[in-house]
Each structure stands twice: as structure tokens, then as C-alpha cells.
């Protein structure tokens, strides 16, 4: 039935597994150089990727740039997508987040250099509060986040949306590095279980 439905839409890929992840069909076609399939994929993924990058990078014009880089990367790597390693959404989100992190880290590095040279304060603190108080929509996700302890939630959010390494998170929250590693791990496990992600 599903297969027939896909066929009617011109998605006649015979791989049955793709039915479970319709984006997999599009990505596979894109992986064979099909630009119209990639355009469809873009429509499905753009809000997710743009949202991630915006959250991390903040600056809208840089966000556009980084999101574009992420999509081009997705296109380049499309022939190598391996569905045994996760869904298309998860893969694309990973790519976009990594790009965003790389961007803020390299900016941070040059800012730090400038500040060191100018004998100014070594670590920025002004945007910490703002990042801790994240306005996360989505009831299911918000509820899942509420099940975390305060420090777990802050640690996960500072890392994922704040773009901070766990060492920086430890400094920000004034907790030992070893402790923060454990909190991040415990928080992610609880979040995963609360959201019902199969392992």
C-alpha cells in the first residue's frame, strides 16, 4: 500500500526500508544527483536545520550562511548516507549542528585572541543567563526537559544550543569537569528515554 502510494508520487525506489523513513527515499535519489529530490528534501528539512543553526549562531545573516553550508554538505555526502546509522533528520541535524558549532568556536577563538591581546577579561559571561533561559517550544520536548534535574537540563542546553564544550559548561555552572560529564550523560539518557527514542 505504502509502496504504491510512493510510486504514485513518482518515488519508485524499490528499497522497502525507505518506506519507514520517506526522507530516505528523497536522500537516496538526491544521492544519485537528482536535484528535484534534493529540493523536496530541502523543504522538509530547512526549518529544522535553520532553527538549529539560528539557536547556536544567533546572528541571522551568519545563520543563513551556515545553513547553506550544511545543505551543500548534505548534498555532497548524500551518496554516503547510511540508514543503519540513523534517520535522515538526525543525520542532517548532526551536520547542521556541527557546522554551527565550528562557526561559533572559530569566532570565539578569534574573539578570545583579541581580548587576550587587549588584556581584557578572558571569558565572556554576559550571554550565559540568556542561554540558560531557553525558550523551547514543543510541549513534548518541554515536558521531557522538565524531567531532567536543573543542572542536567542547563548542561545539555548550554552544550547543544549554547555551543559550549563540556569544559566551558563546567566553568559556567561552576561544577567540576568530571561531574559535568556525568550530568550531561545522565541528562541525555533521561531525555532519550523520555522522548521514547529506541536504542
Amino acid at each position: 500500500m505504502l509502496r504504491n502510494a510512493l510510486r504514485r508520487r513518482g518515488l519508485d525506489d524499490p528499497v522497502v526500508d525507505d518506506v519507514r523513513d520517506p526522507l530516505g527515499v528523497l536522500l537516496r535519489r538526491a544521492g544519485r544527483g537528482d536535484q528535484s529530490a534534493f529540493a523536496e528534501l530541502y523543504d522538509s528539512l530547512a526549518p529544522l536545520l535553520y532553527g538549529i543553526v539560528l539557536k547556536v549562531v544567533r546572528d541571522p545573516s551568519q545563520t543563513e550562511e551556515v545553513t547553506q553550508e550544511a545543505f551543500v554538505e548534505l548534498w555532497r555526502l548524500a551518496p554516503r548516507y547510511d540508514d543503519s546509522r540513523g534517520s535522515v533528520r538526525s543525520w542532517a541535524a548532526t551536520l547542521a549542528h556541527r557546522r554551527a558549532i565550528d562557526r561559533v568556536r572559530s569566532e570565539q577563538a578569534s574573539r578570545d585572541r583579541i581580548e587576550r591581546e587587549g588584556q581584557k577579561r578572558p571569558i565572556q559571561t554576559d550571554d550565559v543567563d540568556e542561554q540558560v533561559v531557553l525558550n523551547i517550544e514543543g510541549t513534548r520536548v518541554r515536558k521531557a526537559l522538565e524531567r531532567l534535574t536543573e543542572i542536567q537540563r542547563q548542561a545539555v542546553e548550554l552544550a547543544y544550543f549554547g555551543g559550549h564544550s563540556y569544559r566551558e559548561v563546567a566553568l559556567i555552572l561552576d561544577v567540576a569537569e568530571g561531574t559535568i560529564k556525568t550530568r550531561i550523560r545522565d541528562g541525555m539518557i533521561r531525555l532519550r528515554d523520555e522522548l521514547g527514542v529506541a536504542t
Binding site: R76, R85, E137, Y166, V197
Partner: protein, 248 residues
């Protein structure tokens, strides 16, 4: 990174909250770790759901820009499994130096080995001469291939394959030792991997006496070599997992 410590990093890694050194170390660990690999996948899936809660529609102009740019962007090869990519990416500079220092030694050993086995390995009477011609090329470069996790089976532990390639001669010598029998109706096949994909170079013999000795024609500039087990007739597109791979 110690053994107990490394598993702790799966969550921080999935969050991109590790530094570059840790990232590189963890990436050389987790794809083959039964604990970390599924954990990373689960955390990434989790994070994509979290991220969906902050989804925002981008400005419409972005789509046109993306589509314009992909029109000018080459896609990577479809065949390359992660194992090959990882091998290429994570081979560190130190290993590379050791490797290049050992090339001269390897050349001598292979040359001697080639002459020794050429006569009786069934590889053809021209093998020794052809192999020597490749070794003599100043641009000949030796690539010892790394075993991947897919290289299993009796005796796989001691198996080794080296490829000595001369770009000017457009030929390569394949030297395999200690290779397990690929199985009935199967044979080893060598692949040239370049920017456009993986190309079948040559079906190697059945590794009689656990050895492979071949001089093969190479039309192209490999960035990597890979070996798979394929039906004895040979295939144009790899069907088996990559069991040996090495970056040139």
C-alpha cells in the same frame, strides 16, 4: 583516553561539546564500539527531536541560494563506506611519518618476495619482471592496506595486503600474504577509489597458498585502495564489505 573514560564521552560528543582532540579520538573509537555506537545514534536522534522544537522557517531566498550552489557542487563517491573514510581521516601524522620511513624497507622486502614467489606462485612467468619494473620507478609508492572490521574468518589476523603503485608506469603490484581462502566461488577484488567513486581494478586470484601476487593496470589516480570479496567472475560494483583499505 583510558578505556573507562572513553565511553563517558558519547553524550558530550553527540552534543558537539568536546574539543577537537577529543572529537578525533572519539571518532576513531565509537564506530567500532558496541556500547558507544548505538548510544551516539540514540543521542543524535534525541537531539533532532529536541531541535525540532526550535524549528524556524528560513527566508525564502535561502532555497534559491542552496539550489544554485549544489548545481555547482560535486557529490562524493557512493561506495566508500565509513570504514574507508575513517581510515583515511584518522591516520595521524605520526603514523604517516613512520609509514613513509618504512617505504624504502618495504620496497626491498616486497621486491625480494616478488622474485622469490614469482616463479612458483602461478601468478604467471611475467610477474617478477613486471613487478620489478614497477618497483624501479622513482615514483612508486607503497600503500600497506589496513584490515577493516569486516576482515574476519580463519587466519584473517595475520593477513596483509600491500599495493605498490607507479603513476608513471600506470601499474601497481599487489602483494597479499596470509590471506584466508575467500570461500567457494569467491575471489578477492581490488578497487581504485578516487574522487569519482570506486573502480574495479582487477579481480585478484583465489589466494592460493594464501598469497596474492599480481601486477595490475591502473588507469586513474587513486586516493585510496580497497579490497573486497566478490563472486569469482568479478563485479563492476562492489557487493561485499571492504576488508582492506588504505589511503595512498
Amino acid at each position: 583516553m583510558s578505556g573507562t573514560d572513553v565511553h563517558q564521552l558519547a553524550a558530550a560528543y553527540a552534543l558537539d561539546a568536546v574539543d577537537e582532540r577529543e572529537r578525533a579520538e572519539f571518532e576513531s573509537h565509537y564506530p567500532t564500539c558496541a556500547v558507544c555506537r548505538p548510544e551516539v545514534a540514540g543521542f543524535r536522534e534525541t537531539l533532532s527531536q529536541v531541535a525540532a522544537a526550535v524549528a524556524v522557517s528560513p527566508p525564502p531566498s535561502l532555497k534559491a541560494n542552496v539550489m544554485a550552489e549544489i548545481g555547482n557542487t560535486r557529490q562524493l563517491s557512493p561506495l566508500l563506506p565509513e570504514s574507508v573514510v575513517d581510515l583515511a581521516t584518522h591516520r595521524n601524522a605520526k603514523q604517516r611519518m613512520v609509514r613513509s620511513l618504512s617505504i624504502a624497507a618495504a620496497l626491498i622486502v616486497i621486491a625480494v618476495g616478488a622474485f622469490a614467489v614469482g616463479r612458483h606462485s602461478g601468478a604467471g612467468s611475467g610477474y617478477a619482471t613486471a613487478a620489478a619494473a614497477v618497483f624501479e620507478q622513482p615514483d612508486a609508492r607503497t600503500t600497506p592496506l589496513d584490515k577493516t572490521d569486516a576482515a574476519t574468518g580463519a587466519g584473517a589476523a595475520s593477513a596483509s595486503i600491500k599495493v605498490v603503485w607507479s603513476p608513471s608506469d600506470k601499474k601497481a603490484v599487489v602483494v597479499g600474504d596470509g590471506l584466508p581462502d575467500p570461500g567457494p566461488g569467491k575471489a578477492y577484488e581490488l578497487w581504485l577509489v578516487d574522487g569519482t567513486g570506486a573502480h574495479a581494478v582487477r579481480l585478484l586470484d583465489k589466494a592460493e597458498g594464501r598469497q596474492v601476487r599480481r601486477v595490475v593496470d591502473v588507469n586513474g589516480e587513486p586516493t585510496q585502495w580497497a579490497v573486497t570479496v566478490e563472486p569469482a567472475g568479478g563485479v563492476d560494483k562492489a557487493t561485499g564489505p571492504i576488508i582492506f583499505a588504505g589511503a595512498v
